[in-house]
């Protein structure tokens, strides 16, 4: 049984600006038998994409393959000439990139780009190729397979583009397809459809594949073999079942731990009913305010929420849900068009410019992308000293001392104060971000996707830090994320946003088992589980139709809901229903009906919490 791919002793180096050579990956050896899927897993900087590209003997600018052999069947790619290499790429080996949006030429029609490989390699006539492409579109469950090819890339959604890229890779019937983090940029609810399409196509056609990812749960669904990478070297390698259930390497164990967030005990909700933040009827958007009071581009409608002292509220939503807008509106960075925001009985003006310095101090925002949230021209110490001087009028000595205290709070060494912030790692930058927010001594910190751009291991550490800070300082948090697993690990209360409306609200316990709002149900069930076969069990989620987020007063989830009631859901706006377990949902169905429907049709999710009642399985 010959292996299709065999990599031996691979070493890739990079030449930096200063002409110094740096090894990116070394001692890489693995082989892939025909028809199997091998996963390359690791965090950013581990070298997984570099290795994936090397399988086509391609290295990015400034890098080159220094040593090693890459065998495709019996041919060593390192021995091939450039023309031979070109004839191989796109024909025998294909690549599906991470970002479909930037991998398509914006000024060429999609069909032409998909057929390009056939033109380069003269493999078939245009007519035959087009027919084959349309066929592939159908197999990949793309809408309008006959006509989608005549569109331009910007006219098609992200999830569809990703599948189109897969079609582009498959049109020449390659022997090996390399999937490079293809679903990382997609929403969880879109991801599941794409994953399913990929898996089906790979299995049906017996394609050999390499799947690069940082997400263990996704890898568990797709791969037969797993290679774990850290810092350019292989830590561990083996069959998927073994890696997941019995990892032997420490780093692998770390990755597994990060994928299974442990739910610590809920902070005892002091029956002190006083809420710190209360938001009623909030609406916000962009553009001019029209005559009916709504902005030209409405994002949020009628949002009500409250956060108690010393507790954490999670806000979950996918792209387009308006969750970031919510943070901006509460902070006053984006003036709301309607509604009231109260901070401990004091009404906050909707515009930042109208708020007092004290009001601004009490609500702080921490942004997602730490790279752009810290001024590259300033040192860490200077960044932290400014709010101290601005809000508390601290002079140099007091300020220096406090800066050291703040760094200590976020577990950073005091020596970092003199460093320009460009030298810090992603995790360190996010800690500085937090420290800056803490410097103001706020009552409430709004965290907007603060861990989404970080590697899972680093992100877990940041989440632990947040919990610690809450315990020690009693600050309230609003934690915004698209990842429900993270939220459940950190938050006491959770609200779910869809298309600018709140659809569900409940405590952490409520999200362990149905009943949920139908959207919440879809969300929870789309998060890949860290066990093989999960994806296969999800066959019966109804195919989602592109959402029309124009819900207005009607339920925003109308178009995608698999349990909607014709004649009711599309005519009347849903009431707020309190469910018996304590949560509230915006739905026409009653709690019992939802429970019945959701337990019947789908396996209930078990997020393997430290303490909770697991249903069924």
């Amino acid at each position: 049984m010959s292996d299709l791919i065999r990599v031996e002793n691979l070493r890739i180096v990079a030449r930096g600006d200063d002409d110094q050579e740096k090894t990116i990956v070394k001692n890489i050896e693995f082989s892939i038998p025909r028809g199997e899927v091998l996963a390359l897993i690791g965090e950013s900087g581990s070298g997984k994409t570099t290795i994936a590209l090397a399988l086509m003997r391609y290295a990015r600018r400034g890098c080159h393959i220094d040593e090693g052999s890459i065998f495709l069947d019996d041919t060593d790619l390192m021995s091939l000439s450039q023309p031979a290499l070109r004839s191989l790429r796109g024909r025998r080996i294909s690549y599906v990139a991470q970002s479909a949006a930037s991998s398509f030429n914006p000024s060429m029609r999609i069909m032409n780009q998909i057929l390009e490989s056939t033109q380069i390699h003269y493999s078939m006539s245009r007519k035959a190729a087009e027919a084959k492409a349309v066929d592939l579109f159908r197999v990949l469950a793309l809408p309008n397979p006959e006509t989608i090819g005549s569109r331009y890339p910007h006219q098609v959604s992200g999830g569809q583009l990703q599948r189109l890229m897969a079609a582009m890779a498959m049109i020449t019937d390659p022997e090996l397809i390399i999937f490079d983090e293809p679903t990382t940029a997609l929403d969880v609810t879109t991801q599941i459809d794409v994953l399913r399409a990929f898996k089906q196509v790979v299995q049906e056609r017996g394609i050999t594949a390499v799947y690069v990812s940082h997400d263990l749960a996704v890898v568990a669904q797709m791969a037969d073999q797993v290679v774990v990478l850290n810092n350019g070297e292989i830590c561990e390698m083996g069959r998927t079942a073994q890696i997941i259930n019995a990892p032997s390497d420490d780093y692998t164990k770390q990755l597994m731990a990060a994928a299974h967030p442990v739910l610590t005990g809920v902070a005892e909700t002091n029956e002190n009913d006083e809420s710190l933040l209360s938001v009623k009827g909030l609406a916000a958007g962009y553009g001019k305010i029209r005559r009916d009071g709504r902005p030209a581009i409405p994002i949020l409608q009628d949002i009500n929420l409250s956060i108690k002292h010393g507790s954490t509220l999670g806000v979950i939503g996918e792209s387009g849900s308006g969750k970031s807008t919510l943070a901006l509106a509460i902070a006053g960075l984006l003036p709301s068009s309607a509604g009231i925001v109260k901070l401990a009985d004091e009404v906050l003006p909707n515009r930042m410019e109208l708020r007092s310095r004290d009001q601004l101090k009490r609500v702080q925002v921490v942004f997602q992308n730490a790279d752009t949230a810290l001024n590259p021209a300033h040192s860490v110490g200077r960044i932290l000293a400014r709010p101290l001087a601005f809000y508390h009028g601290m002079t140099k000595d007091a300020s220096d001392k406090r800066v050291r205290e703040l760094l200590d709070l976020v577990h950073l060494p005091p020596s970092i104060a003199d460093q320009p912030c460009t030298r810090l790692s992603g995790g360190q930058k996010q800690r500085v971000n937090l420290a800056r927010a803490l410097a103001a001594e706020p009552d409430l910190i709004l965290c907007d996707e603060v861990t989404s751009a970080l590697d899972t291991v680093v992100a877990t550490a940041i989440l632990d830090l947040l919990k610690e800070l809450q315990r020690e300082l009693g600050i309230s948090f609003m934690f915004i994320s698209h990842d429900i697993t993270t939220l459940r690990g950190v938050c006491d209360q959770v609200i779910v946003l869809y298309a600018g409306q709140k659809v569900e609200e409940g405590s952490r316990k409520n999200f362990a088992a149905p009943p949920f709002h139908p959207y919440t149900n879809l969300l929870i069930n789309s998060v890949p589980e860290l066990e093989q076969g999960w994806l296969d069990r999800k066959k019966h989620i109804r195919q989602t139709i592109p959402a029309n987020a124009d819900g207005q007063q009607l339920c925003g989830f109308l178009d995608r809901c698999s349990v909607r009631i014709e004649g009711k859901c599309d005519k009347q706006s849903p009431p707020w229903v309190a469910l018996s377990e304590g949560s509230e949902v915006s739905c026409h169905l009653s709690g019992e009906e939802l429970k019945r429907l959701q337990q019947h049709s789908l396996q209930t999710p078990t997020l393997k919490p430290a303490s909770s009642n697991a249903e069924g399985g």
Partner: protein, 268 residues
């Protein structure tokens, strides 16, 4: 020295050397020139290079070496001052415009766009017709000619920086406009604007020498390098150093600065 070589490369180093050479000449030249620029040293005009007169004589019999050194003073000095003025004005305005409200930003930008729509030489010619060609006026004219270009680049930079999250954070703190512009935005603009300054310098040298060549720039008895080419034009047929030297001076100055700026850009 070695790190400078690594940073700039050989072309960059050559450029730096040329630039510094001419800066030096413009400062020190008049002090070490063998003769005064107006002095007639020999009755033979357009003499070739010799040990006595290193660069020969010009169309009136004056020392070309001395006149070139004097001319360099005008060219380099005026260009530097004008470029500096343009950079300061343009950067200041660009920054101000970017952090101001939409209406103010729009109006300033429109005016600057209009100014940019007038080709540089045409603009300078119109100004000279109205205001004359004295040295201070020339300085003003060349500075104003290039201010809109600097403005556009500075504003574009500032607008991009303004959209960064760290600016949002500062705004959310309640910081005022002046603090934002000077402490948060400006430090991130300095490096690109310095590169731009170098380019403006070259543009001004080109513009000024062209104007002088047309007889509309630096007026007699003063002469910059462009004027020197103009007045010694008849020496072209003999290939006299009187015209070759100032020509070579202009070329080596602009190429030198260009090489230096290019090497700065490619190393970052």
């Amino acid at each position: 020295m070695k790190s400078l070589y690594r940073y700039l490369g050989i072309t960059g180093l050559a450029g730096l050397a040329l630039t510094l050479f001419w800066v030096l000449v413009s400062f020190v030249g008049p002090l070490i020139a063998p003769y005064s620029p107006g002095e007639i040293v020999n009755y033979d005009v357009f003499l070739p290079m010799s040990w006595e007169h290193l660069l020969g004589t010009d169309y009136l019999g004056r020392s070309v070496l001395s006149r070139v050194m004097d001319g360099a003073r005008f060219t380099v000095g005026l260009a530097f001052a004008a470029a500096l003025l343009a950079s300061l004005l343009g950067t200041g305005l660009g920054l101000f415009s970017a952090v101001s409200g939409k209406a103010l930003d729009e109006s300033i930008s429109r005016v600057m766009d209009a100014l940019l729509s007038i080709p540089n030489k045409i603009f300078a010619l119109v100004m000279i017709a109205a205001l004359g060609s004295s040295i201070p006026i020339l300085l003003l004219i060349t500075a104003i000619t290039y201010t809109p270009g600097v403005f556009r680049i500075a504003r574009s930079l500032a607008v991009n920086i303004n959209q960064m999250d760290y600016i949002q954070v500062a705004r959310a703190r309640g910081e005022g406009r002046i603090y934002l512009a000077s402490v948060e935005v400006l430090p991130n603009m300095i490096h690109p604007m310095l590169t731009d300054f170098g380019l403006r310098f070259v543009y001004v040298v080109l513009l000024l020498s062209s104007l002088s060549f047309l007889g509309l720039g630096v007026q007699p008895p003063n002469a910059d390098l462009g004027s020197l080419v103009r007045e010694n034009m008849s020496g072209l047929w003999e290939g006299a150093p009187a015209i070759m030297a100032p020509a070579a001076a202009i070329i080596s100055l602009t190429i030198g600065v260009n090489l230096f700026i290019d090497s700065l850009r490619s190393s970052r």
